[in-house]
């Protein structure tokens, strides 16, 4: 890959970062919202699990580490601007990109990279402050293999979320109603990615069923990998499921994009 081909996308990422810095209060308020959500979940579990007891298979320290890790990984995986794709298609703004020598997918990946960089910086500061103020019992993984596997799974989660989000945007080719399906998607992934609670506290049949879906591989799987709480078989199956979902969603996206472009009339331009 030539540098000249990559350079425009780096500039797109940089522009996204600069754009966020232009609206500083907005970004600060957004991050403050994330802190509030984290605190609500943190204190719920602190109240549910007494210091010296195990509830739903989790000790207090294991659960609080899970909640804090979930906040960090959420900032990496879920910070995304791809939600605007559907609206761009609806308004006909997609034409601007189709006429230019840019890859629309790479453009959005670059925008997401800029947005994620900003959110990661904030999340690191926020979590550090929370740890310093609340002094929760945090578990630091010493096994570098688990850390490495966790990082790999986070990268896969980023791509999974990108593909799912993009696919929802493609609805814009066929319908002006792009927000309602996204609202349902948000509701489902908020619960079944493991952001509010670890999925293994669910009754076994539900837990097994949800593992078939792509959502646990967005948060639950990377966090459990980091905590070193998965067996070798569970790790292999987790990566396998993640890989299969990535492949299927990618193929579905390619198919949907081609079909959608044939429908596209640049309505609204």
């Amino acid at each position: 890959m030539k540098w000249a081909a990559v350079k425009p996308y780096l500039q797109v990422a940089k522009n996204t970062w600069n754009n966020a810095l232009t609206y500083r209060i907005n970004v600060l308020l957004w991050r403050f919202r994330m802190v509030l959500q984290l605190l609500a979940t943190y204190f719920l579990w602190l109240a549910v699990i007494p210091a010296n007891k195990t509830v739903l298979g989790y000790s207090q320290s294991a659960m609080l580490t899970y909640v804090l890790a979930s906040a960090v990984i959420s900032a990496i995986v879920f910070s995304s601007l791809v939600g605007a794709v559907g609206e761009e298609i609806n308004k006909g703004d997609l034409s601007n990109y189709l006429l230019k020598p840019v890859n629309y997918f790479a453009y959005w990946l670059a925008r997401d990279a800029g947005d994620k960089a900003m959110n990661i910086c904030f999340a690191v500061v926020e979590i550090t402050l929370i740890i310093l103020i609340l002094r929760p019992p945090v578990f630091l993984q010493a096994n570098l293999l688990y850390v490495f596997l966790s990082i790999v799974s986070v990268v896969m989660a980023i791509l999974l979320y990108f593909l799912m989000n993009f696919l929802l945007g493609l609805i814009g080719f066929w319908s002006s109603e792009v927000w309602a399906p996204r609202f349902i998607f948000f509701t489902i992934y908020a619960f079944f990615s493991g952001g509010i609670f670890p999925l293994d506290i669910l009754p076994k049949p539900f837990f097994i069923f949800f593992q078939i879906l792509p959502f646990p591989y967005l948060l639950y799987f990377p966090i459990k990998l980091y905590l070193g709480q998965l067996s070798i078989l569970e790790i292999i199956l987790g990566f396998l499921a993640s890989g299969i979902w990535l492949f299927l969603l990618f193929k579905f996206l390619q198919w949907g994009w081609q079909k959608g472009l044939k429908q596209y009339t640049a309505q609204g331009r």
Binding site: N26, L39, F43, F183, F186
Partner: protein, 260 residues
């Protein structure tokens, strides 16, 4: 009063027509809201089934807390949906149309059309809340009166918060997610505020009165609030509302009609 009711009715009819113009979208939004409600209730049941009590409350009490939170949250959304459009109205200069008409701009910015999609959810919540109340047991008549009194107080605080969001929208056009910030703040009252530790608990009770708004009606029903706390809560609600009205008058002076 009659004129304002008529304006509200006309705007609500208009809003309803827009909301129902995409029936599929309306159905999907309803499904999403029902899913969110049922997921959270399931989570409470799951936790309470294993722990018996959370922060000293039983399963049905926790469910009642959560449902009451939803009743307040949904009613505020149902009535004050127009606030979500305010940022656009300010940045586009469309707010000019509110000012030049013989209807108070604050009324128009707050009650400019209720959201019909929240009505079925609201009715469902009322039924579910009554059902949960029957399972709590030992509820006095006085407790019920205080519950409703503090619910009205909660709506007054919600109104004050929404006016505050409108004011922020005028004072700084940079913020476009202030209303969502309010939503996240109030989400902390989804569970009884007793689960939070000091100083956070004190902060979200009296400084940012989410606790008074979301938790106190249920605590009054359960007979867990003293008289002076109830009077203080009502006083905070009234003062906050009056302050928000003053803030609105102050903020309105800074509207520049940019982009119009």
């Amino acid at each position: 009063m009659k004129k304002y009711l008529k304006v509200w009715w006309l705007l609500t009819i208009k809003g309803t027509q827009i909301a129902l113009s995409s029936r599929m979208g309306a159905i999907l939004f309803l499904i999403g809201k029902l899913l969110r409600l049922s997921f959270f209730v399931s989570l409470i049941v799951l936790i309470a089934a294993r722990t018996n009590v959370i922060a000293g409350y039983t399963l049905w009490q926790m469910i009642f807390f959560y449902l009451t939170f939803n009743v307040i949250d949904t009613l505020a959304q149902l009535l004050l949906r127009e606030v979500y459009e305010f940022h656009y109205n300010i940045t586009s200069g469309y707010f000019d149309n509110y000012i030049v008409k013989p209807v108070a701009p604050l009324f128009r910015a707050l009650f400019g059309g209720s959201d019909i999609l929240d009505v079925p959810i609201f009715l469902l919540l009322i039924i579910a809340t009554i059902f949960a109340a029957f399972h709590i047991g030992h509820i006095s008549f006085l407790g019920i009166i205080l519950y409703f009194l503090l619910l009205i107080n909660s709506m007054l605080i919600a109104l004050a918060f929404h006016i505050g969001v409108l004011c922020l929208g005028i004072l700084t056009t940079e913020i476009d997610n202030a209303i969502m910030f309010y939503r996240d703040l109030t989400q902390m009252g989804r569970m009884p505020i007793d689960i939070y530790k000091e100083p956070l608990r004190g902060l979200i009770t009296f400084i940012v009165p989410v606790g008074i708004m979301m938790t106190f009606p249920v605590k009054a029903l359960l007979g867990l609030l003293s008289w002076w706390i109830i009077i203080l809560s009502l006083a905070i609600g009234i003062v906050l509302f009056l302050l928000s009205l003053w803030f609105w008058k102050y903020a309105l002076r800074f509207y520049t009609s940019a982009s119009s």
